[in-house]
């Protein structure tokens, strides 16, 4: 039996052929619909049962993540990064996404997900070459099983689907996780990717970090759907809604979805409700399109604060943890400052290195031209 036959073989409800009266829903929509309320752990009775180790791990990483966001933003102000789209306020999503995956799973981040990439284990400096402006992707995607940060919105969605499909064909139990924003759900590639995933029954999970805005455009101008998670039913996959600032909840929902995908249950669409506390990027002016009160309101619902409260409630926020987390975060920030203090030494000839497996005749000529120009320049400087 081929992988592609799964629906016909395993689902007796599938009509063999297209016949008149093939009218009853082929899949029951009810279980696909998200709950009306987003899933929460912190501040609910479930928080008492959450694994203390996990909560402490989440805490350490959220603190480090916040610091990472701050340091990167500072570096933009110093002209050391070309641009930085901060995920401040969204650290719970970023960290939980990374922790929900196994090392041999694949992550497909969007351009805002540097922190998720770092939380996954990619070197924090290598993760920043794109935004520093020194190289496109600074890490080896194959080695880290992390796709390049993806700028053309939603284009990474079908990539994740294709990779997950290929893994399934190979008999591997690898899962792919694609990250995107609320705005990205409007793109055709989101739609096409989710539909492929559902039809291929691919082991892939989609995490929409709904932070209420696509740059300046609020959600009400982006979608009229009950929730973005409701889009799942149109593909025949389950949609889940989660409080995106509740790290334990995001972690649990994603872990369940990944497990479901891993064990042949197919794709899941997860919508995490969150907020981008900073402007879109350092180049953006958020006062043009949103009120300061909104930011204040969300700061009261800050992911670190929620986690701290829960840890404190259970007596898990000891001094050692706080100190450890702070030290870790500071060490990373110090490393970023040190490394990015000066411009890197780049080889202009690298421009021609990876256009094709072998450069064309034309590229060889162009490389020679640039080499000659650089030599001439060097001569002028030497004089």
């Amino acid at each position: 039996m081929t992988v592609m036959d799964h629906r016909d073989q395993s689902d007796p409800a599938v009509v063999p052929g297209w016949l008149p009266g093939a009218t009853a829903p082929r899949t029951d929509p009810a279980p696909l619909l998200p709950d009306a309320e987003p899933f929460r752990v912190l501040g609910t009775p479930a928080a008492d049962k959450a694994d203390p180790g996990l909560l402490r791990e989440l805490y350490r990483r959220l603190v480090a993540g916040r610091r990472y966001n701050q340091q990167a933003t500072t570096l933009t102000k110093q002209g050391r990064l070309a641009v930085y789209p901060a995920s401040t306020g969204q650290e719970a999503c970023q960290v939980a996404a990374a922790l929900a995956l196994r090392a041999d799973d694949w992550m497909f981040p969007s351009y805002r997900d540097t922190l998720a990439v770092v939380a996954r284990g990619v070197d924090p400096l290598q993760a920043l070459t794109l935004l520093r402006g020194s190289a496109h992707t600074g890490y080896d995607p194959r080695a880290t099983r992390t796709a390049p940060l993806c700028t053309p919105l939603a284009t990474q969605v079908p990539h994740a689907v294709g990779l997950a499909h290929a893994a399934r064909l190979a008999g591997d139990d690898t899962v792919a996780l694609a990250l995107l924003g609320d705005g990205g759900t409007s793109e055709g590639d989101f739609h096409e990717g989710l539909n492929f995933a559902a039809v291929l029954h691919a082991p892939v999970v989609f995490l929409v970090q709904n932070n209420g805005y696509a740059i300046s455009v609020p959600l009400t101008r982006q979608s009229a759907a009950p929730t973005l998670a409701h889009k799942a039913v149109g593909y025949g996959i389950p949609g889940r809604l989660v409080d995106g600032n509740d790290a334990a909840a995001v972690h649990q929902v994603l872990t369940e979805a990944v497990e479901r995908a891993r064990t042949g249950g197919g794709p899941t669409l997860v919508e995490a409700l969150t907020y981008r506390v900073e402007a879109h990027t350092n180049a953006d002016d958020a006062t043009r399109y949103r009120h300061a009160e909104e930011v204040t309101a969300w700061q009261a619902h800050d992911p670190i604060r929620l986690l701290e409260d829960a840890l404190r409630e259970r007596g898990l926020l000891d001094e050692q943890l706080v100190a450890e987390a702070a030290d870790e975060a500071e060490a990373m920030a110090a490393r970023m400052r040190a490394e990015f203090h000066a411009d890197p030494d780049l080889d202009p000839m690298s421009l021609f290195a990876h256009v094709y497996a072998e450069p064309t005749q034309q590229l060889r000529e162009q490389a020679a031209q640039l080499a000659a120009e650089l030599a001439a320049e060097a001569e002028v400087h030497a004089r």
């Binding site: 705005g183 409007s186 982006q222 421009l351």
Partner: protein, 335 residues
Amino acid sequence: MTTATREQSGLRTGTMAQALNAALRDAMRADKSVHVLGEDVGALGGVFRITDGLTAEFGADRCLDTPLAEAGILGTAVGMAMYGLRPVVEMQFDAFAYPAMEQLVSHVAKMRNRTAGKLPLPITVRVPYGGGIGGVEHHSDASEAYYAHTPGLHVVTPATVADAYGLLREAIASDDPVVFLEPKRLYWGKAEWDPAAGVEPIGKAVLRRPGTSAVLVTYGPSLPVCLEAAEAAKAEGWDLAVLDLRSLVPFDEATACEVVRSLGRAVVVHEASGFGGAGAEIAARLTEKCFHHLAAPVLRVTGFDIPYPPPMLEHHHLPGVDRILDAVARLQWEE
């Protein structure tokens, strides 16, 4: 092409971004059928602020923040134009216009032809265009060659503040679809211009600098560097003319041929990759039409045939003064 009425007058000083903004505002004031739509064009005024204040003045119906979907934006504009509106679409960056390629090529470019003239589509597609602003990958493409090769589209790119205003007014007034390429790195250059003065209409090239040795043929973002090169060339004893094409389609063959014939030497300069770039068309066409007047082949100075580099390396990719002068030096002066 039609010439838009110029209701505003009086000298203004400002950046190209401001001139474009003024052109949109004046066009919207002059004609209620002009509607702006795109991502973040409303309260934010666009990421480059070209639509700044338009929603405030004309309301969200006239300057519409759309959902994030470029094919949807352009496809919606097609329907709006079918109902008699003149949509002005903003694509946020060149590379983010690619999702709309099917709508552009299969409908926008062809609708007039497909309907024997019954459904012209007066759509302006504004595209912040090219590099040189330190943008990270996918923010600095130069995609004019795709558009210029697509019959049914006009392809326009201003290089001066006055042209930014004038050509955008003309584009909006045109009954044909216009891809309007706004050189990102010229957005913040200031100049004086007179909105009432009128400019050469779309389809007319302008000699920005006369010269007697050879001509640099260019457009859009590469005009300033060509003018700089012409200045620098004086030290080498060359008196270079600089021709600004202003539109690739229509292509002003008459003007270009005249100057090439009179000088016999030409270098085409643009920042897009050279292979299959607009420079190839210009060089091939000028050669075909001016062959016996040429003392040397028409040379091209362009971006390399590579994906656009990261910001810290982009200056090696973009044609600069030295690379242009190197090409001028190869124009076989000895003979």
